[in-house]
Amino acid sequence: MLEQILEILFNVISIGSVLLLAALGLAIVFGLMGVINLAHGELMMLGAYSTYVVQQGFELWAKDALDYYLWVALPVAFIFTALVGVLLEKGVIRFLYGRPLETLLATWGVSLILRQFVRSVDGVLLIGIALFCLLFFGGMWVLRRRVNWESTRDRAIAILLPLSLAITSIASILLGKNEALTNKWFGSRNLDITFPSWLDENLSPENLPNWLAWLGNWMKSVGLEDFSVPRTRLFIIGLTIVCLLGVYLFLNRSNWGLRIRAVTQNRSMSACLGIPTRQVDAFTFALGSGLAGIAGCAVTLIGSVGPNMGGNYIVDAFMVVVVGGVGNLFGSILAALGISTANYLISVETFVPMFEALQTQVAFLKPLWESFVTFFEFFGTSSMAKVLVFALIIAFLQIRPAGIFPQKGRSVEL
């Protein structure tokens, strides 16, 4: 009995920590900036792909240290996705502040482009993009120094854009004849990453490290010698805790955190007091994107890496943010745990044996228990569990429309 309870608890925490890790960056960007980033899942995908690249690099150049690639991959994923995030903020989202629905559509466009980019990236595409940027943005940069720039800007774009597009496409057609350049880097199939060997096996009271021997002895004494957990899951839980602590300390103890909170509360007042709001926006978005990268890196431990992997997490992550209440880390934690509990309990058919057991004990309620059993049997599969969880979320939002911890204020807006 104790073992079962512990198992349920561990599974719930482990599913919840993956959810939370995916939702953390989203919660920061949404809560602090009011920006819905539908490309968040694709940023996770980029983090996962950068992990794959790092692992491949280790296999090529540093085979001895292959076990420790994860320690390099985590910061690489963070920095890479943060840079992509800065690019995204400077290129698209900056123009759309205060228009959340438009931001939502634009980021969806970005996510489509990123998905296809990963599928079809090869040497030609990369050279083509570089050439186009050089011609178009370089040309704009040169022309910008002219005196009557403002009045000729539209015309300059109208001439430069088709010109550089034409040159780029001709160049890429010519380059396309080269075999080495047209090799797809990743392709559209899913890639598998081998774990470092120290994450391979399960952790049980038998093979605990020395400094935890007392825990193993204690577990054996209460009859838990068979209880074991996969190390990858433990690693993800630990990573989530570290990330949460880091974000909490960053937002509440550092200078930049103070600035971010100030801009969140009152943008124009912060600008008046000399806080560079533009930089704060870019910085916050970079932080959120970087956390997505870390989540992507962690997710490689429980599944394969593919162009469509981002879509699996994005809606669940949004549900965590909506249920938790916007801009509240503690709410997000509770929501992630709650959703994972509901998901796990329904999908693993915990209720079916329970009601079946009750059926034999209380005879006169038999038809009731039987209908319960058929109901939960129907919703028992993991996909049907989502149906029931969504119904629960809608029911919850009837009671607390703004999440567990709504933002306090006197405005009539939600």
Binding site: W108, V315, M319, V322, M384
Partner: protein, 395 residues
Amino acid sequence: MTEQAAPVQSTRKKKRQKLKREIIAIAVLGIILAVAMPAILYALNIGFRLKFLGRFLSLAIIALGIDLIWGYTGLLSLGHGIFFALGGYSLAMHLKVQDGELPDFMTQYGVDQLPWFWEPYQSFPFTLIAIVVLPMAVAGILGYLVFRNRIRGVYFSILTQAALLVFYYFFKGPIELFNGTNGLKTDSDTLFGAVVSSQSVQFVFYEVTVLLLIAAYLLCRWLTSGRFGRLLIAIRDDENRVRFSGYDPTGFKVVVFAISGALAGIAGALYSVQTGIVTPDNTMEVAFSIEMVIWVAVGGRGTLVGAILGAVLVSLARTLLSEKFPDFWLFFQGGLFLLVVTVLPDGIVGWFRGGGINRARSLFGFPKPVFTYPSLEEDPEVQKEREVFEETETR
């Protein structure tokens, strides 16, 4: 009093003239679509392309529904695939069980009795009603539960997307109920004795699509031109002020969402029967439902013509591009999202109305024409004042 009556009548006259012109334009377009297009396509010996045109036009019906809910009411629904699929599945289920036998896949998975919710689909009139009423009811209930709590904006969008995912899993999950991922094929079924994929039946469906598109346009035109339409726009622009004026926006939003869902259901039935199959993947994909929104954005939201135009143009581009360059389509679509949102927020129709042609001309050295304030010229109040003024001058 008599002095006042004259100008009012003249604006009314102008309105009536405008209406007359619009009706003539619709009639002409309708005749071109219903009669001329099939004739041309059959004459060119590419009659099978008619199916494509029919599909695009049925997608235009759902675009009209999205324009009602997004363009006019300001609620971005990312879950219209639900209603689309409900319409499509309703018709497909009727085609499967009309002869009173169990569908093939059910016997394959060991079901010996028709599930209770399949039973009524044996009757054709019920199916016709279900295509409209079922999506309408689902939209109404979902809308009521969401709008009652004043959930709106991006929250509404996310919730509709989650709802879409739920329905996706619901139709995909229990394989013995809806045949799971394989979906329901309607190609080889018969309708009143004729095979659905035959040319004559497809032609009938094409004509029905054109007629229903015109009917949907007229319905939306009627809804948006009167007081109801103004309320919708008011909800879009400042919902709180509407509430403070003594209206309850919830009811209006629920009604609009339900109508929009019904239009989506009709579109789904027409689309899936012209495609020959309805599966969770081709009707309820998250990407497809968001794509619907971009049709409206490309054409110009808040203009009914724009919704139709955008749906037809983008689906045409999709068919052409994904036939020739399957890789390129996603780049193109993503670029379209970015472009429309950042550069062309009012879509094609809005661009034309905002003097886009003149701006494009000015890029190539033609001088920009000088404008007065066009909005003032079109304002009926100003017109009225001016006419009154002219009348007193001439006297």
